[in-house]
């Protein structure tokens, strides 16, 4: 890639676009762009009415940057137990630029290499949300978060 040597700044335009796209869905209770405790994030709170009663909260956090980096994390809380995983695109010493930090706590050492679609909107559409959908099914079927 030739690249334009872009620096890593928050890509507000793409996050605003995503906020509108999420805001149109019934499964989304609220979208919040740059809340005071998450300065770089679009926080998407899902409607727990779709989940078993023991699920207290599910949210997605999306960060996007002008050099193409992104972090999309899933946070689930069930009976006070927090779990999270994260889809990442950024250079670091432990994995390929595209990688995934699995449940239960998105540890760095547990990360696995991945290859995602070019556009973050497609990564969310084709990788993150199908995973979230599947997770809903798993939660109904099993007692785990």
């Amino acid at each position: 890639m030739t690249g334009l040597d872009r620096s890593r700044s928050v890509d507000e335009a793409t996050l605003r676009y995503l906020a509108r796209a999420f805001g149109r869905r019934d499964e989304v209770r609220q979208t919040s762009l740059f809340p005071s405790n998450k300065l770089e994030s679009l926080v998407v709170t899902l409607d727990v009415e779709y989940y078993p009663e023991s699920v207290d909260g599910v949210s997605l956090e999306v960060r996007a940057y002008t050099n193409g980096d992104f972090h999309v994390s899933y946070h689930g809380m069930r009976a006070g137990d927090r779990q999270q995983c994260r889809w990442d695109r950024h250079d670091q010493p432990h994995n390929t630029r595209d990688h995934f930090h699995p449940l239960p706590d998105a540890e760095t050492t547990a990360a696995v290499d991945r290859g995602y679609a070019t556009d973050l909107t497609r990564v969310i559409e084709g990788t993150v949300l199908p995973w979230v959908d599947e997770r809903v099914g798993e939660l109904w079927e099993s007692g785990t978060i």
């Binding site: 334009l4 872009r6 869905r25 960060r63 559409e125 949300l129």
Partner: protein
């Protein structure tokens, strides 16, 4: 509608995808334009936007006229996101804010910045070695915090610039009067 049983009605991926696909071609090209962090040719962009190359070319030319994208090369014709346009838009948004709101935001960010300085015992995020503050397991959490600190500084700089410009404007107005 909410479910009482295994979440059959929960179809976030499908709905989200249908929404994106249902957008008119100009918006689909705009969506891809936002994400042209690397230069790309017309046919690649057309593929990413699910439209014909001619359609993509037409919309890209319009977006280039507005300034959303810039032509990186002529032959082959490639485009990339024009960062200065988006920076200009962010400043515009801030310029529209009332003076009090501007001050309030600046005060809030300055407070966040000193909290970061205290937490990492450093003057700037570039002075911090994440490994000094984390076990390897959660070093990325520290990187994300440092990234936020960097963003706080960028927002402060942008707000300061807008405030300075506004200050000189009112100074000019006074002089003109």
């Amino acid at each position: 509608m909410p479910a009482d049983e295994p979440g059959e009605e929960f179809g976030l991926a499908e709905g989200f995808s249908a929404d994106l696909d249902a957008k008119p071609a100009d918006e689909r090209v705009y969506r891809v334009a936002l994400q042209l962090y690397e230069p790309a040719g017309v046919s690649t962009i057309a593929e990413r936007a699910s439209c014909a190359p001619d359609t993509a070319r037409r919309h890209l030319k319009r977006l280039a006229d507005i300034g959303v994208v810039e032509r990186v090369s002529e032959s082959p014709l490639t485009f990339a996101r024009n960062e200065s346009y988006f920076e200009w838009r962010l400043r515009n948004r801030l310029e529209a804010l009332p003076r009090d709101e501007l001050h309030e935001r600046l005060a809030e960010l300055t407070e966040r910045e000193s909290a970061f300085r205290e937490r990492f015992d450093a003057e700037s995020p570039t002075d911090v070695d994440a490994f000094d503050h984390a076990e390897y397991d959660d070093v990325e959490t520290v990187w994300l915090a440092l990234s936020e600190w960097h963003t706080v500084r960028e927002r402060i700089d942008r707000l300061e610039a807008v405030r300075r410009d506004r200050g000189s404007d009112s100074f000019r107005e006074e002089n003109a009067a």
